[in-house]
Symmetry: C2
Subunit: 216 residues, 2 copies
C-alpha cells in the first residue's frame, strides 16, 4: 500500500474521491494523514470521521518559511511516499518541497499550460474555449508549472457558468487523481529522481470534439 498524505484547504471532494477509490479496491494506497491550513476545512472533518490522523497548520504570512517547515514536519511524521494536494490553496515553499522532491502531486482544473493559478474555470469561460479539463502534475516552485502526469478533457457546453463547468471538470478530477495515485502504487508511473516516467501507461484512444460536428 502506497502511503499518501493529502493536503486540503476546502471541502475535500478530491480526498473523498480518493478514499472511495481506495475503499472500492480501485486505488492501492492508504491515506495515512490529512493536513490543512484552515481549521474549519471540511476535508479535515472528513478525515477525522474516518479515524485518519489530521494536522492543521494555520497559514502565517509573516512567518512564511517557518510555516512551510512546520507543515513539512507534520507531513513527514506520517512517513508518506506521496503527498497529494487536493484543493490546497497555498503555494508551498522550498522548505516544504525540498523535503518531498518529485513526490508532491497537484490536481488543477484546467488543461495546463492553459489557465494556471486561481479560478481556472472562470478563466476558461472568459477565454471562450470549447474544451476544458483537468491536469494532475508534479508540484515545483512555480504556479501549476510542474511536470504533467495525466490530463482529461471535457466540453464547455452552451449555457455553462462557472459552477456548472467547474462541476463537470471536478467529476473528471475525481476519476483522474485516484487513477494516477494507483498507477504510482502499482509502479505503472515511476517518480524517478530524473522526473516522472510512465512505465506502462494505458493508451488513450479517441477524440473529443466540441461542438460535436460529426466524423469526416
Amino acid at each position: 500500500m502506497l502511503r499518501v498524505v493529502v493536503l486540503a484547504s476546502g471541502r475535500g471532494s478530491n480526498l473523498e474521491a480518493l478514499l472511495r477509490a481506495i475503499d472500492a479496491g480501485r486505488c492501492h494506497a492508504a491515506v495515512v494523514a490529512v493536513a490543512g491550513d484552515k481549521p474549519e476545512a471540511h476535508a479535515l472533518e472528513l478525515a477525522r470521521q474516518r479515524g485518519i490522523a489530521t494536522h492543521c497548520v494555520p497559514f502565517r504570512r509573516a512567518a512564511r518559511g517557518a510555516w512551510d517547515t512546520e507543515l513539512a514536519e507534520a507531513v513527514a511524521e506520517a512517513e508518506p511516499e506521496l503527498v497529494v494536494l487536493a484543493g490546497f490553496m497555498r503555494l508551498l515553499g522550498p522548505a516544504f518541497l525540498d523535503r518531498f522532491t518529485g513526490r508532491v502531486l497537484n490536481v488543477h482544473p484546467s488543461l495546463l499550460p492553459a489557465f494556471p493559478g486561481l479560478s481556472a474555470p472562470a478563466q476558461t469561460l472568459a477565454a471562450g474555449v470549447r474544451l476544458a479539463g483537468c491536469t494532475v502534475h508534479l508540484v515545483d516552485g512555480g504556479v501549476d508549472s510542474g511536470a504533467i502526469l495525466a490530463q482529461a478533457a471535457v466540453p464547455v457546453l452552451p449555457g455553462d457558468d462557472e459552477a456548472t463547468l467547474h462541476a463537470r471538470i471536478q467529476r473528471e478530477e475525481h476519476a483522474l487523481l485516484p487513477g494516477v495515485v494507483d498507477a504510482i502504487a502499482r509502479g505503472a508511473l515511476s517518480l524517478t529522481t530524473t522526473g516522472p516516467r510512465w512505465v506502462a501507461a494505458p493508451v488513450a484512444a479517441g477524440v473529443l470534439r466540441s461542438p460535436d460536428l460529426g466524423t469526416r
Copy 2:
C-alpha cells in the same frame, strides 16, 4: 451554397479535406477560389486540377501593406462569404482583415490558447502535455488569438514524435474544419458583427483521458 475562398501555402491537406466533404455532401459550401503566396504550393495545383480559380500573390516583405491589399483584391474578386486559412503561413495585416472582418477562419494545430504560433506540435511535445488538439478560430490582428469556434482533443501517445503527433492532430483538423464551414453554411454558427454565435451547436459529450486510467 456558401462561397468560400481558401488561402494556403503548403500541400493543401485541409483544402483537400474540405473539397472531399463538399463532394460527399457533408459540407454545403463551394470553394470558389484558392489563393496563395507560394507559386509551388501543392494546394494551388490541387485547385487547378479541379478547375477552381487560383491566385498567387508572392509575399513581399518590403511592401507588406501593398501585398495585403493585392491579396485582398484577388480574394475579393471571388466574392467570398467566408475566407478559410488552411495552412496559410503568413500573418494577414489590416489591409486584408478589415476587408473581411469576422469572416476569416483559421485552423491551428493546438488547443488554443496553449501553443499559438509556429510549430505547435513541437511546442506541445516539449511542454510534456498529455492532450493535444486543434482549434478553428476567427482571425484577428494577433497570432492565433481570435474567437474560438470549435476544438478537438487527441491524446499524446508514448513514443510520439513531432510527425506522428502532427498527423494525429491533422486528421482531426480534416474533420473539424469542414464541420465548422458547414455549420456556417447551414446557419448553425452565425458570424454576426458582434462576434460568432452558435445558434444550434451539436452538444459534445464524454471525456478524453490520457493516459486512459479508467472510470471512477
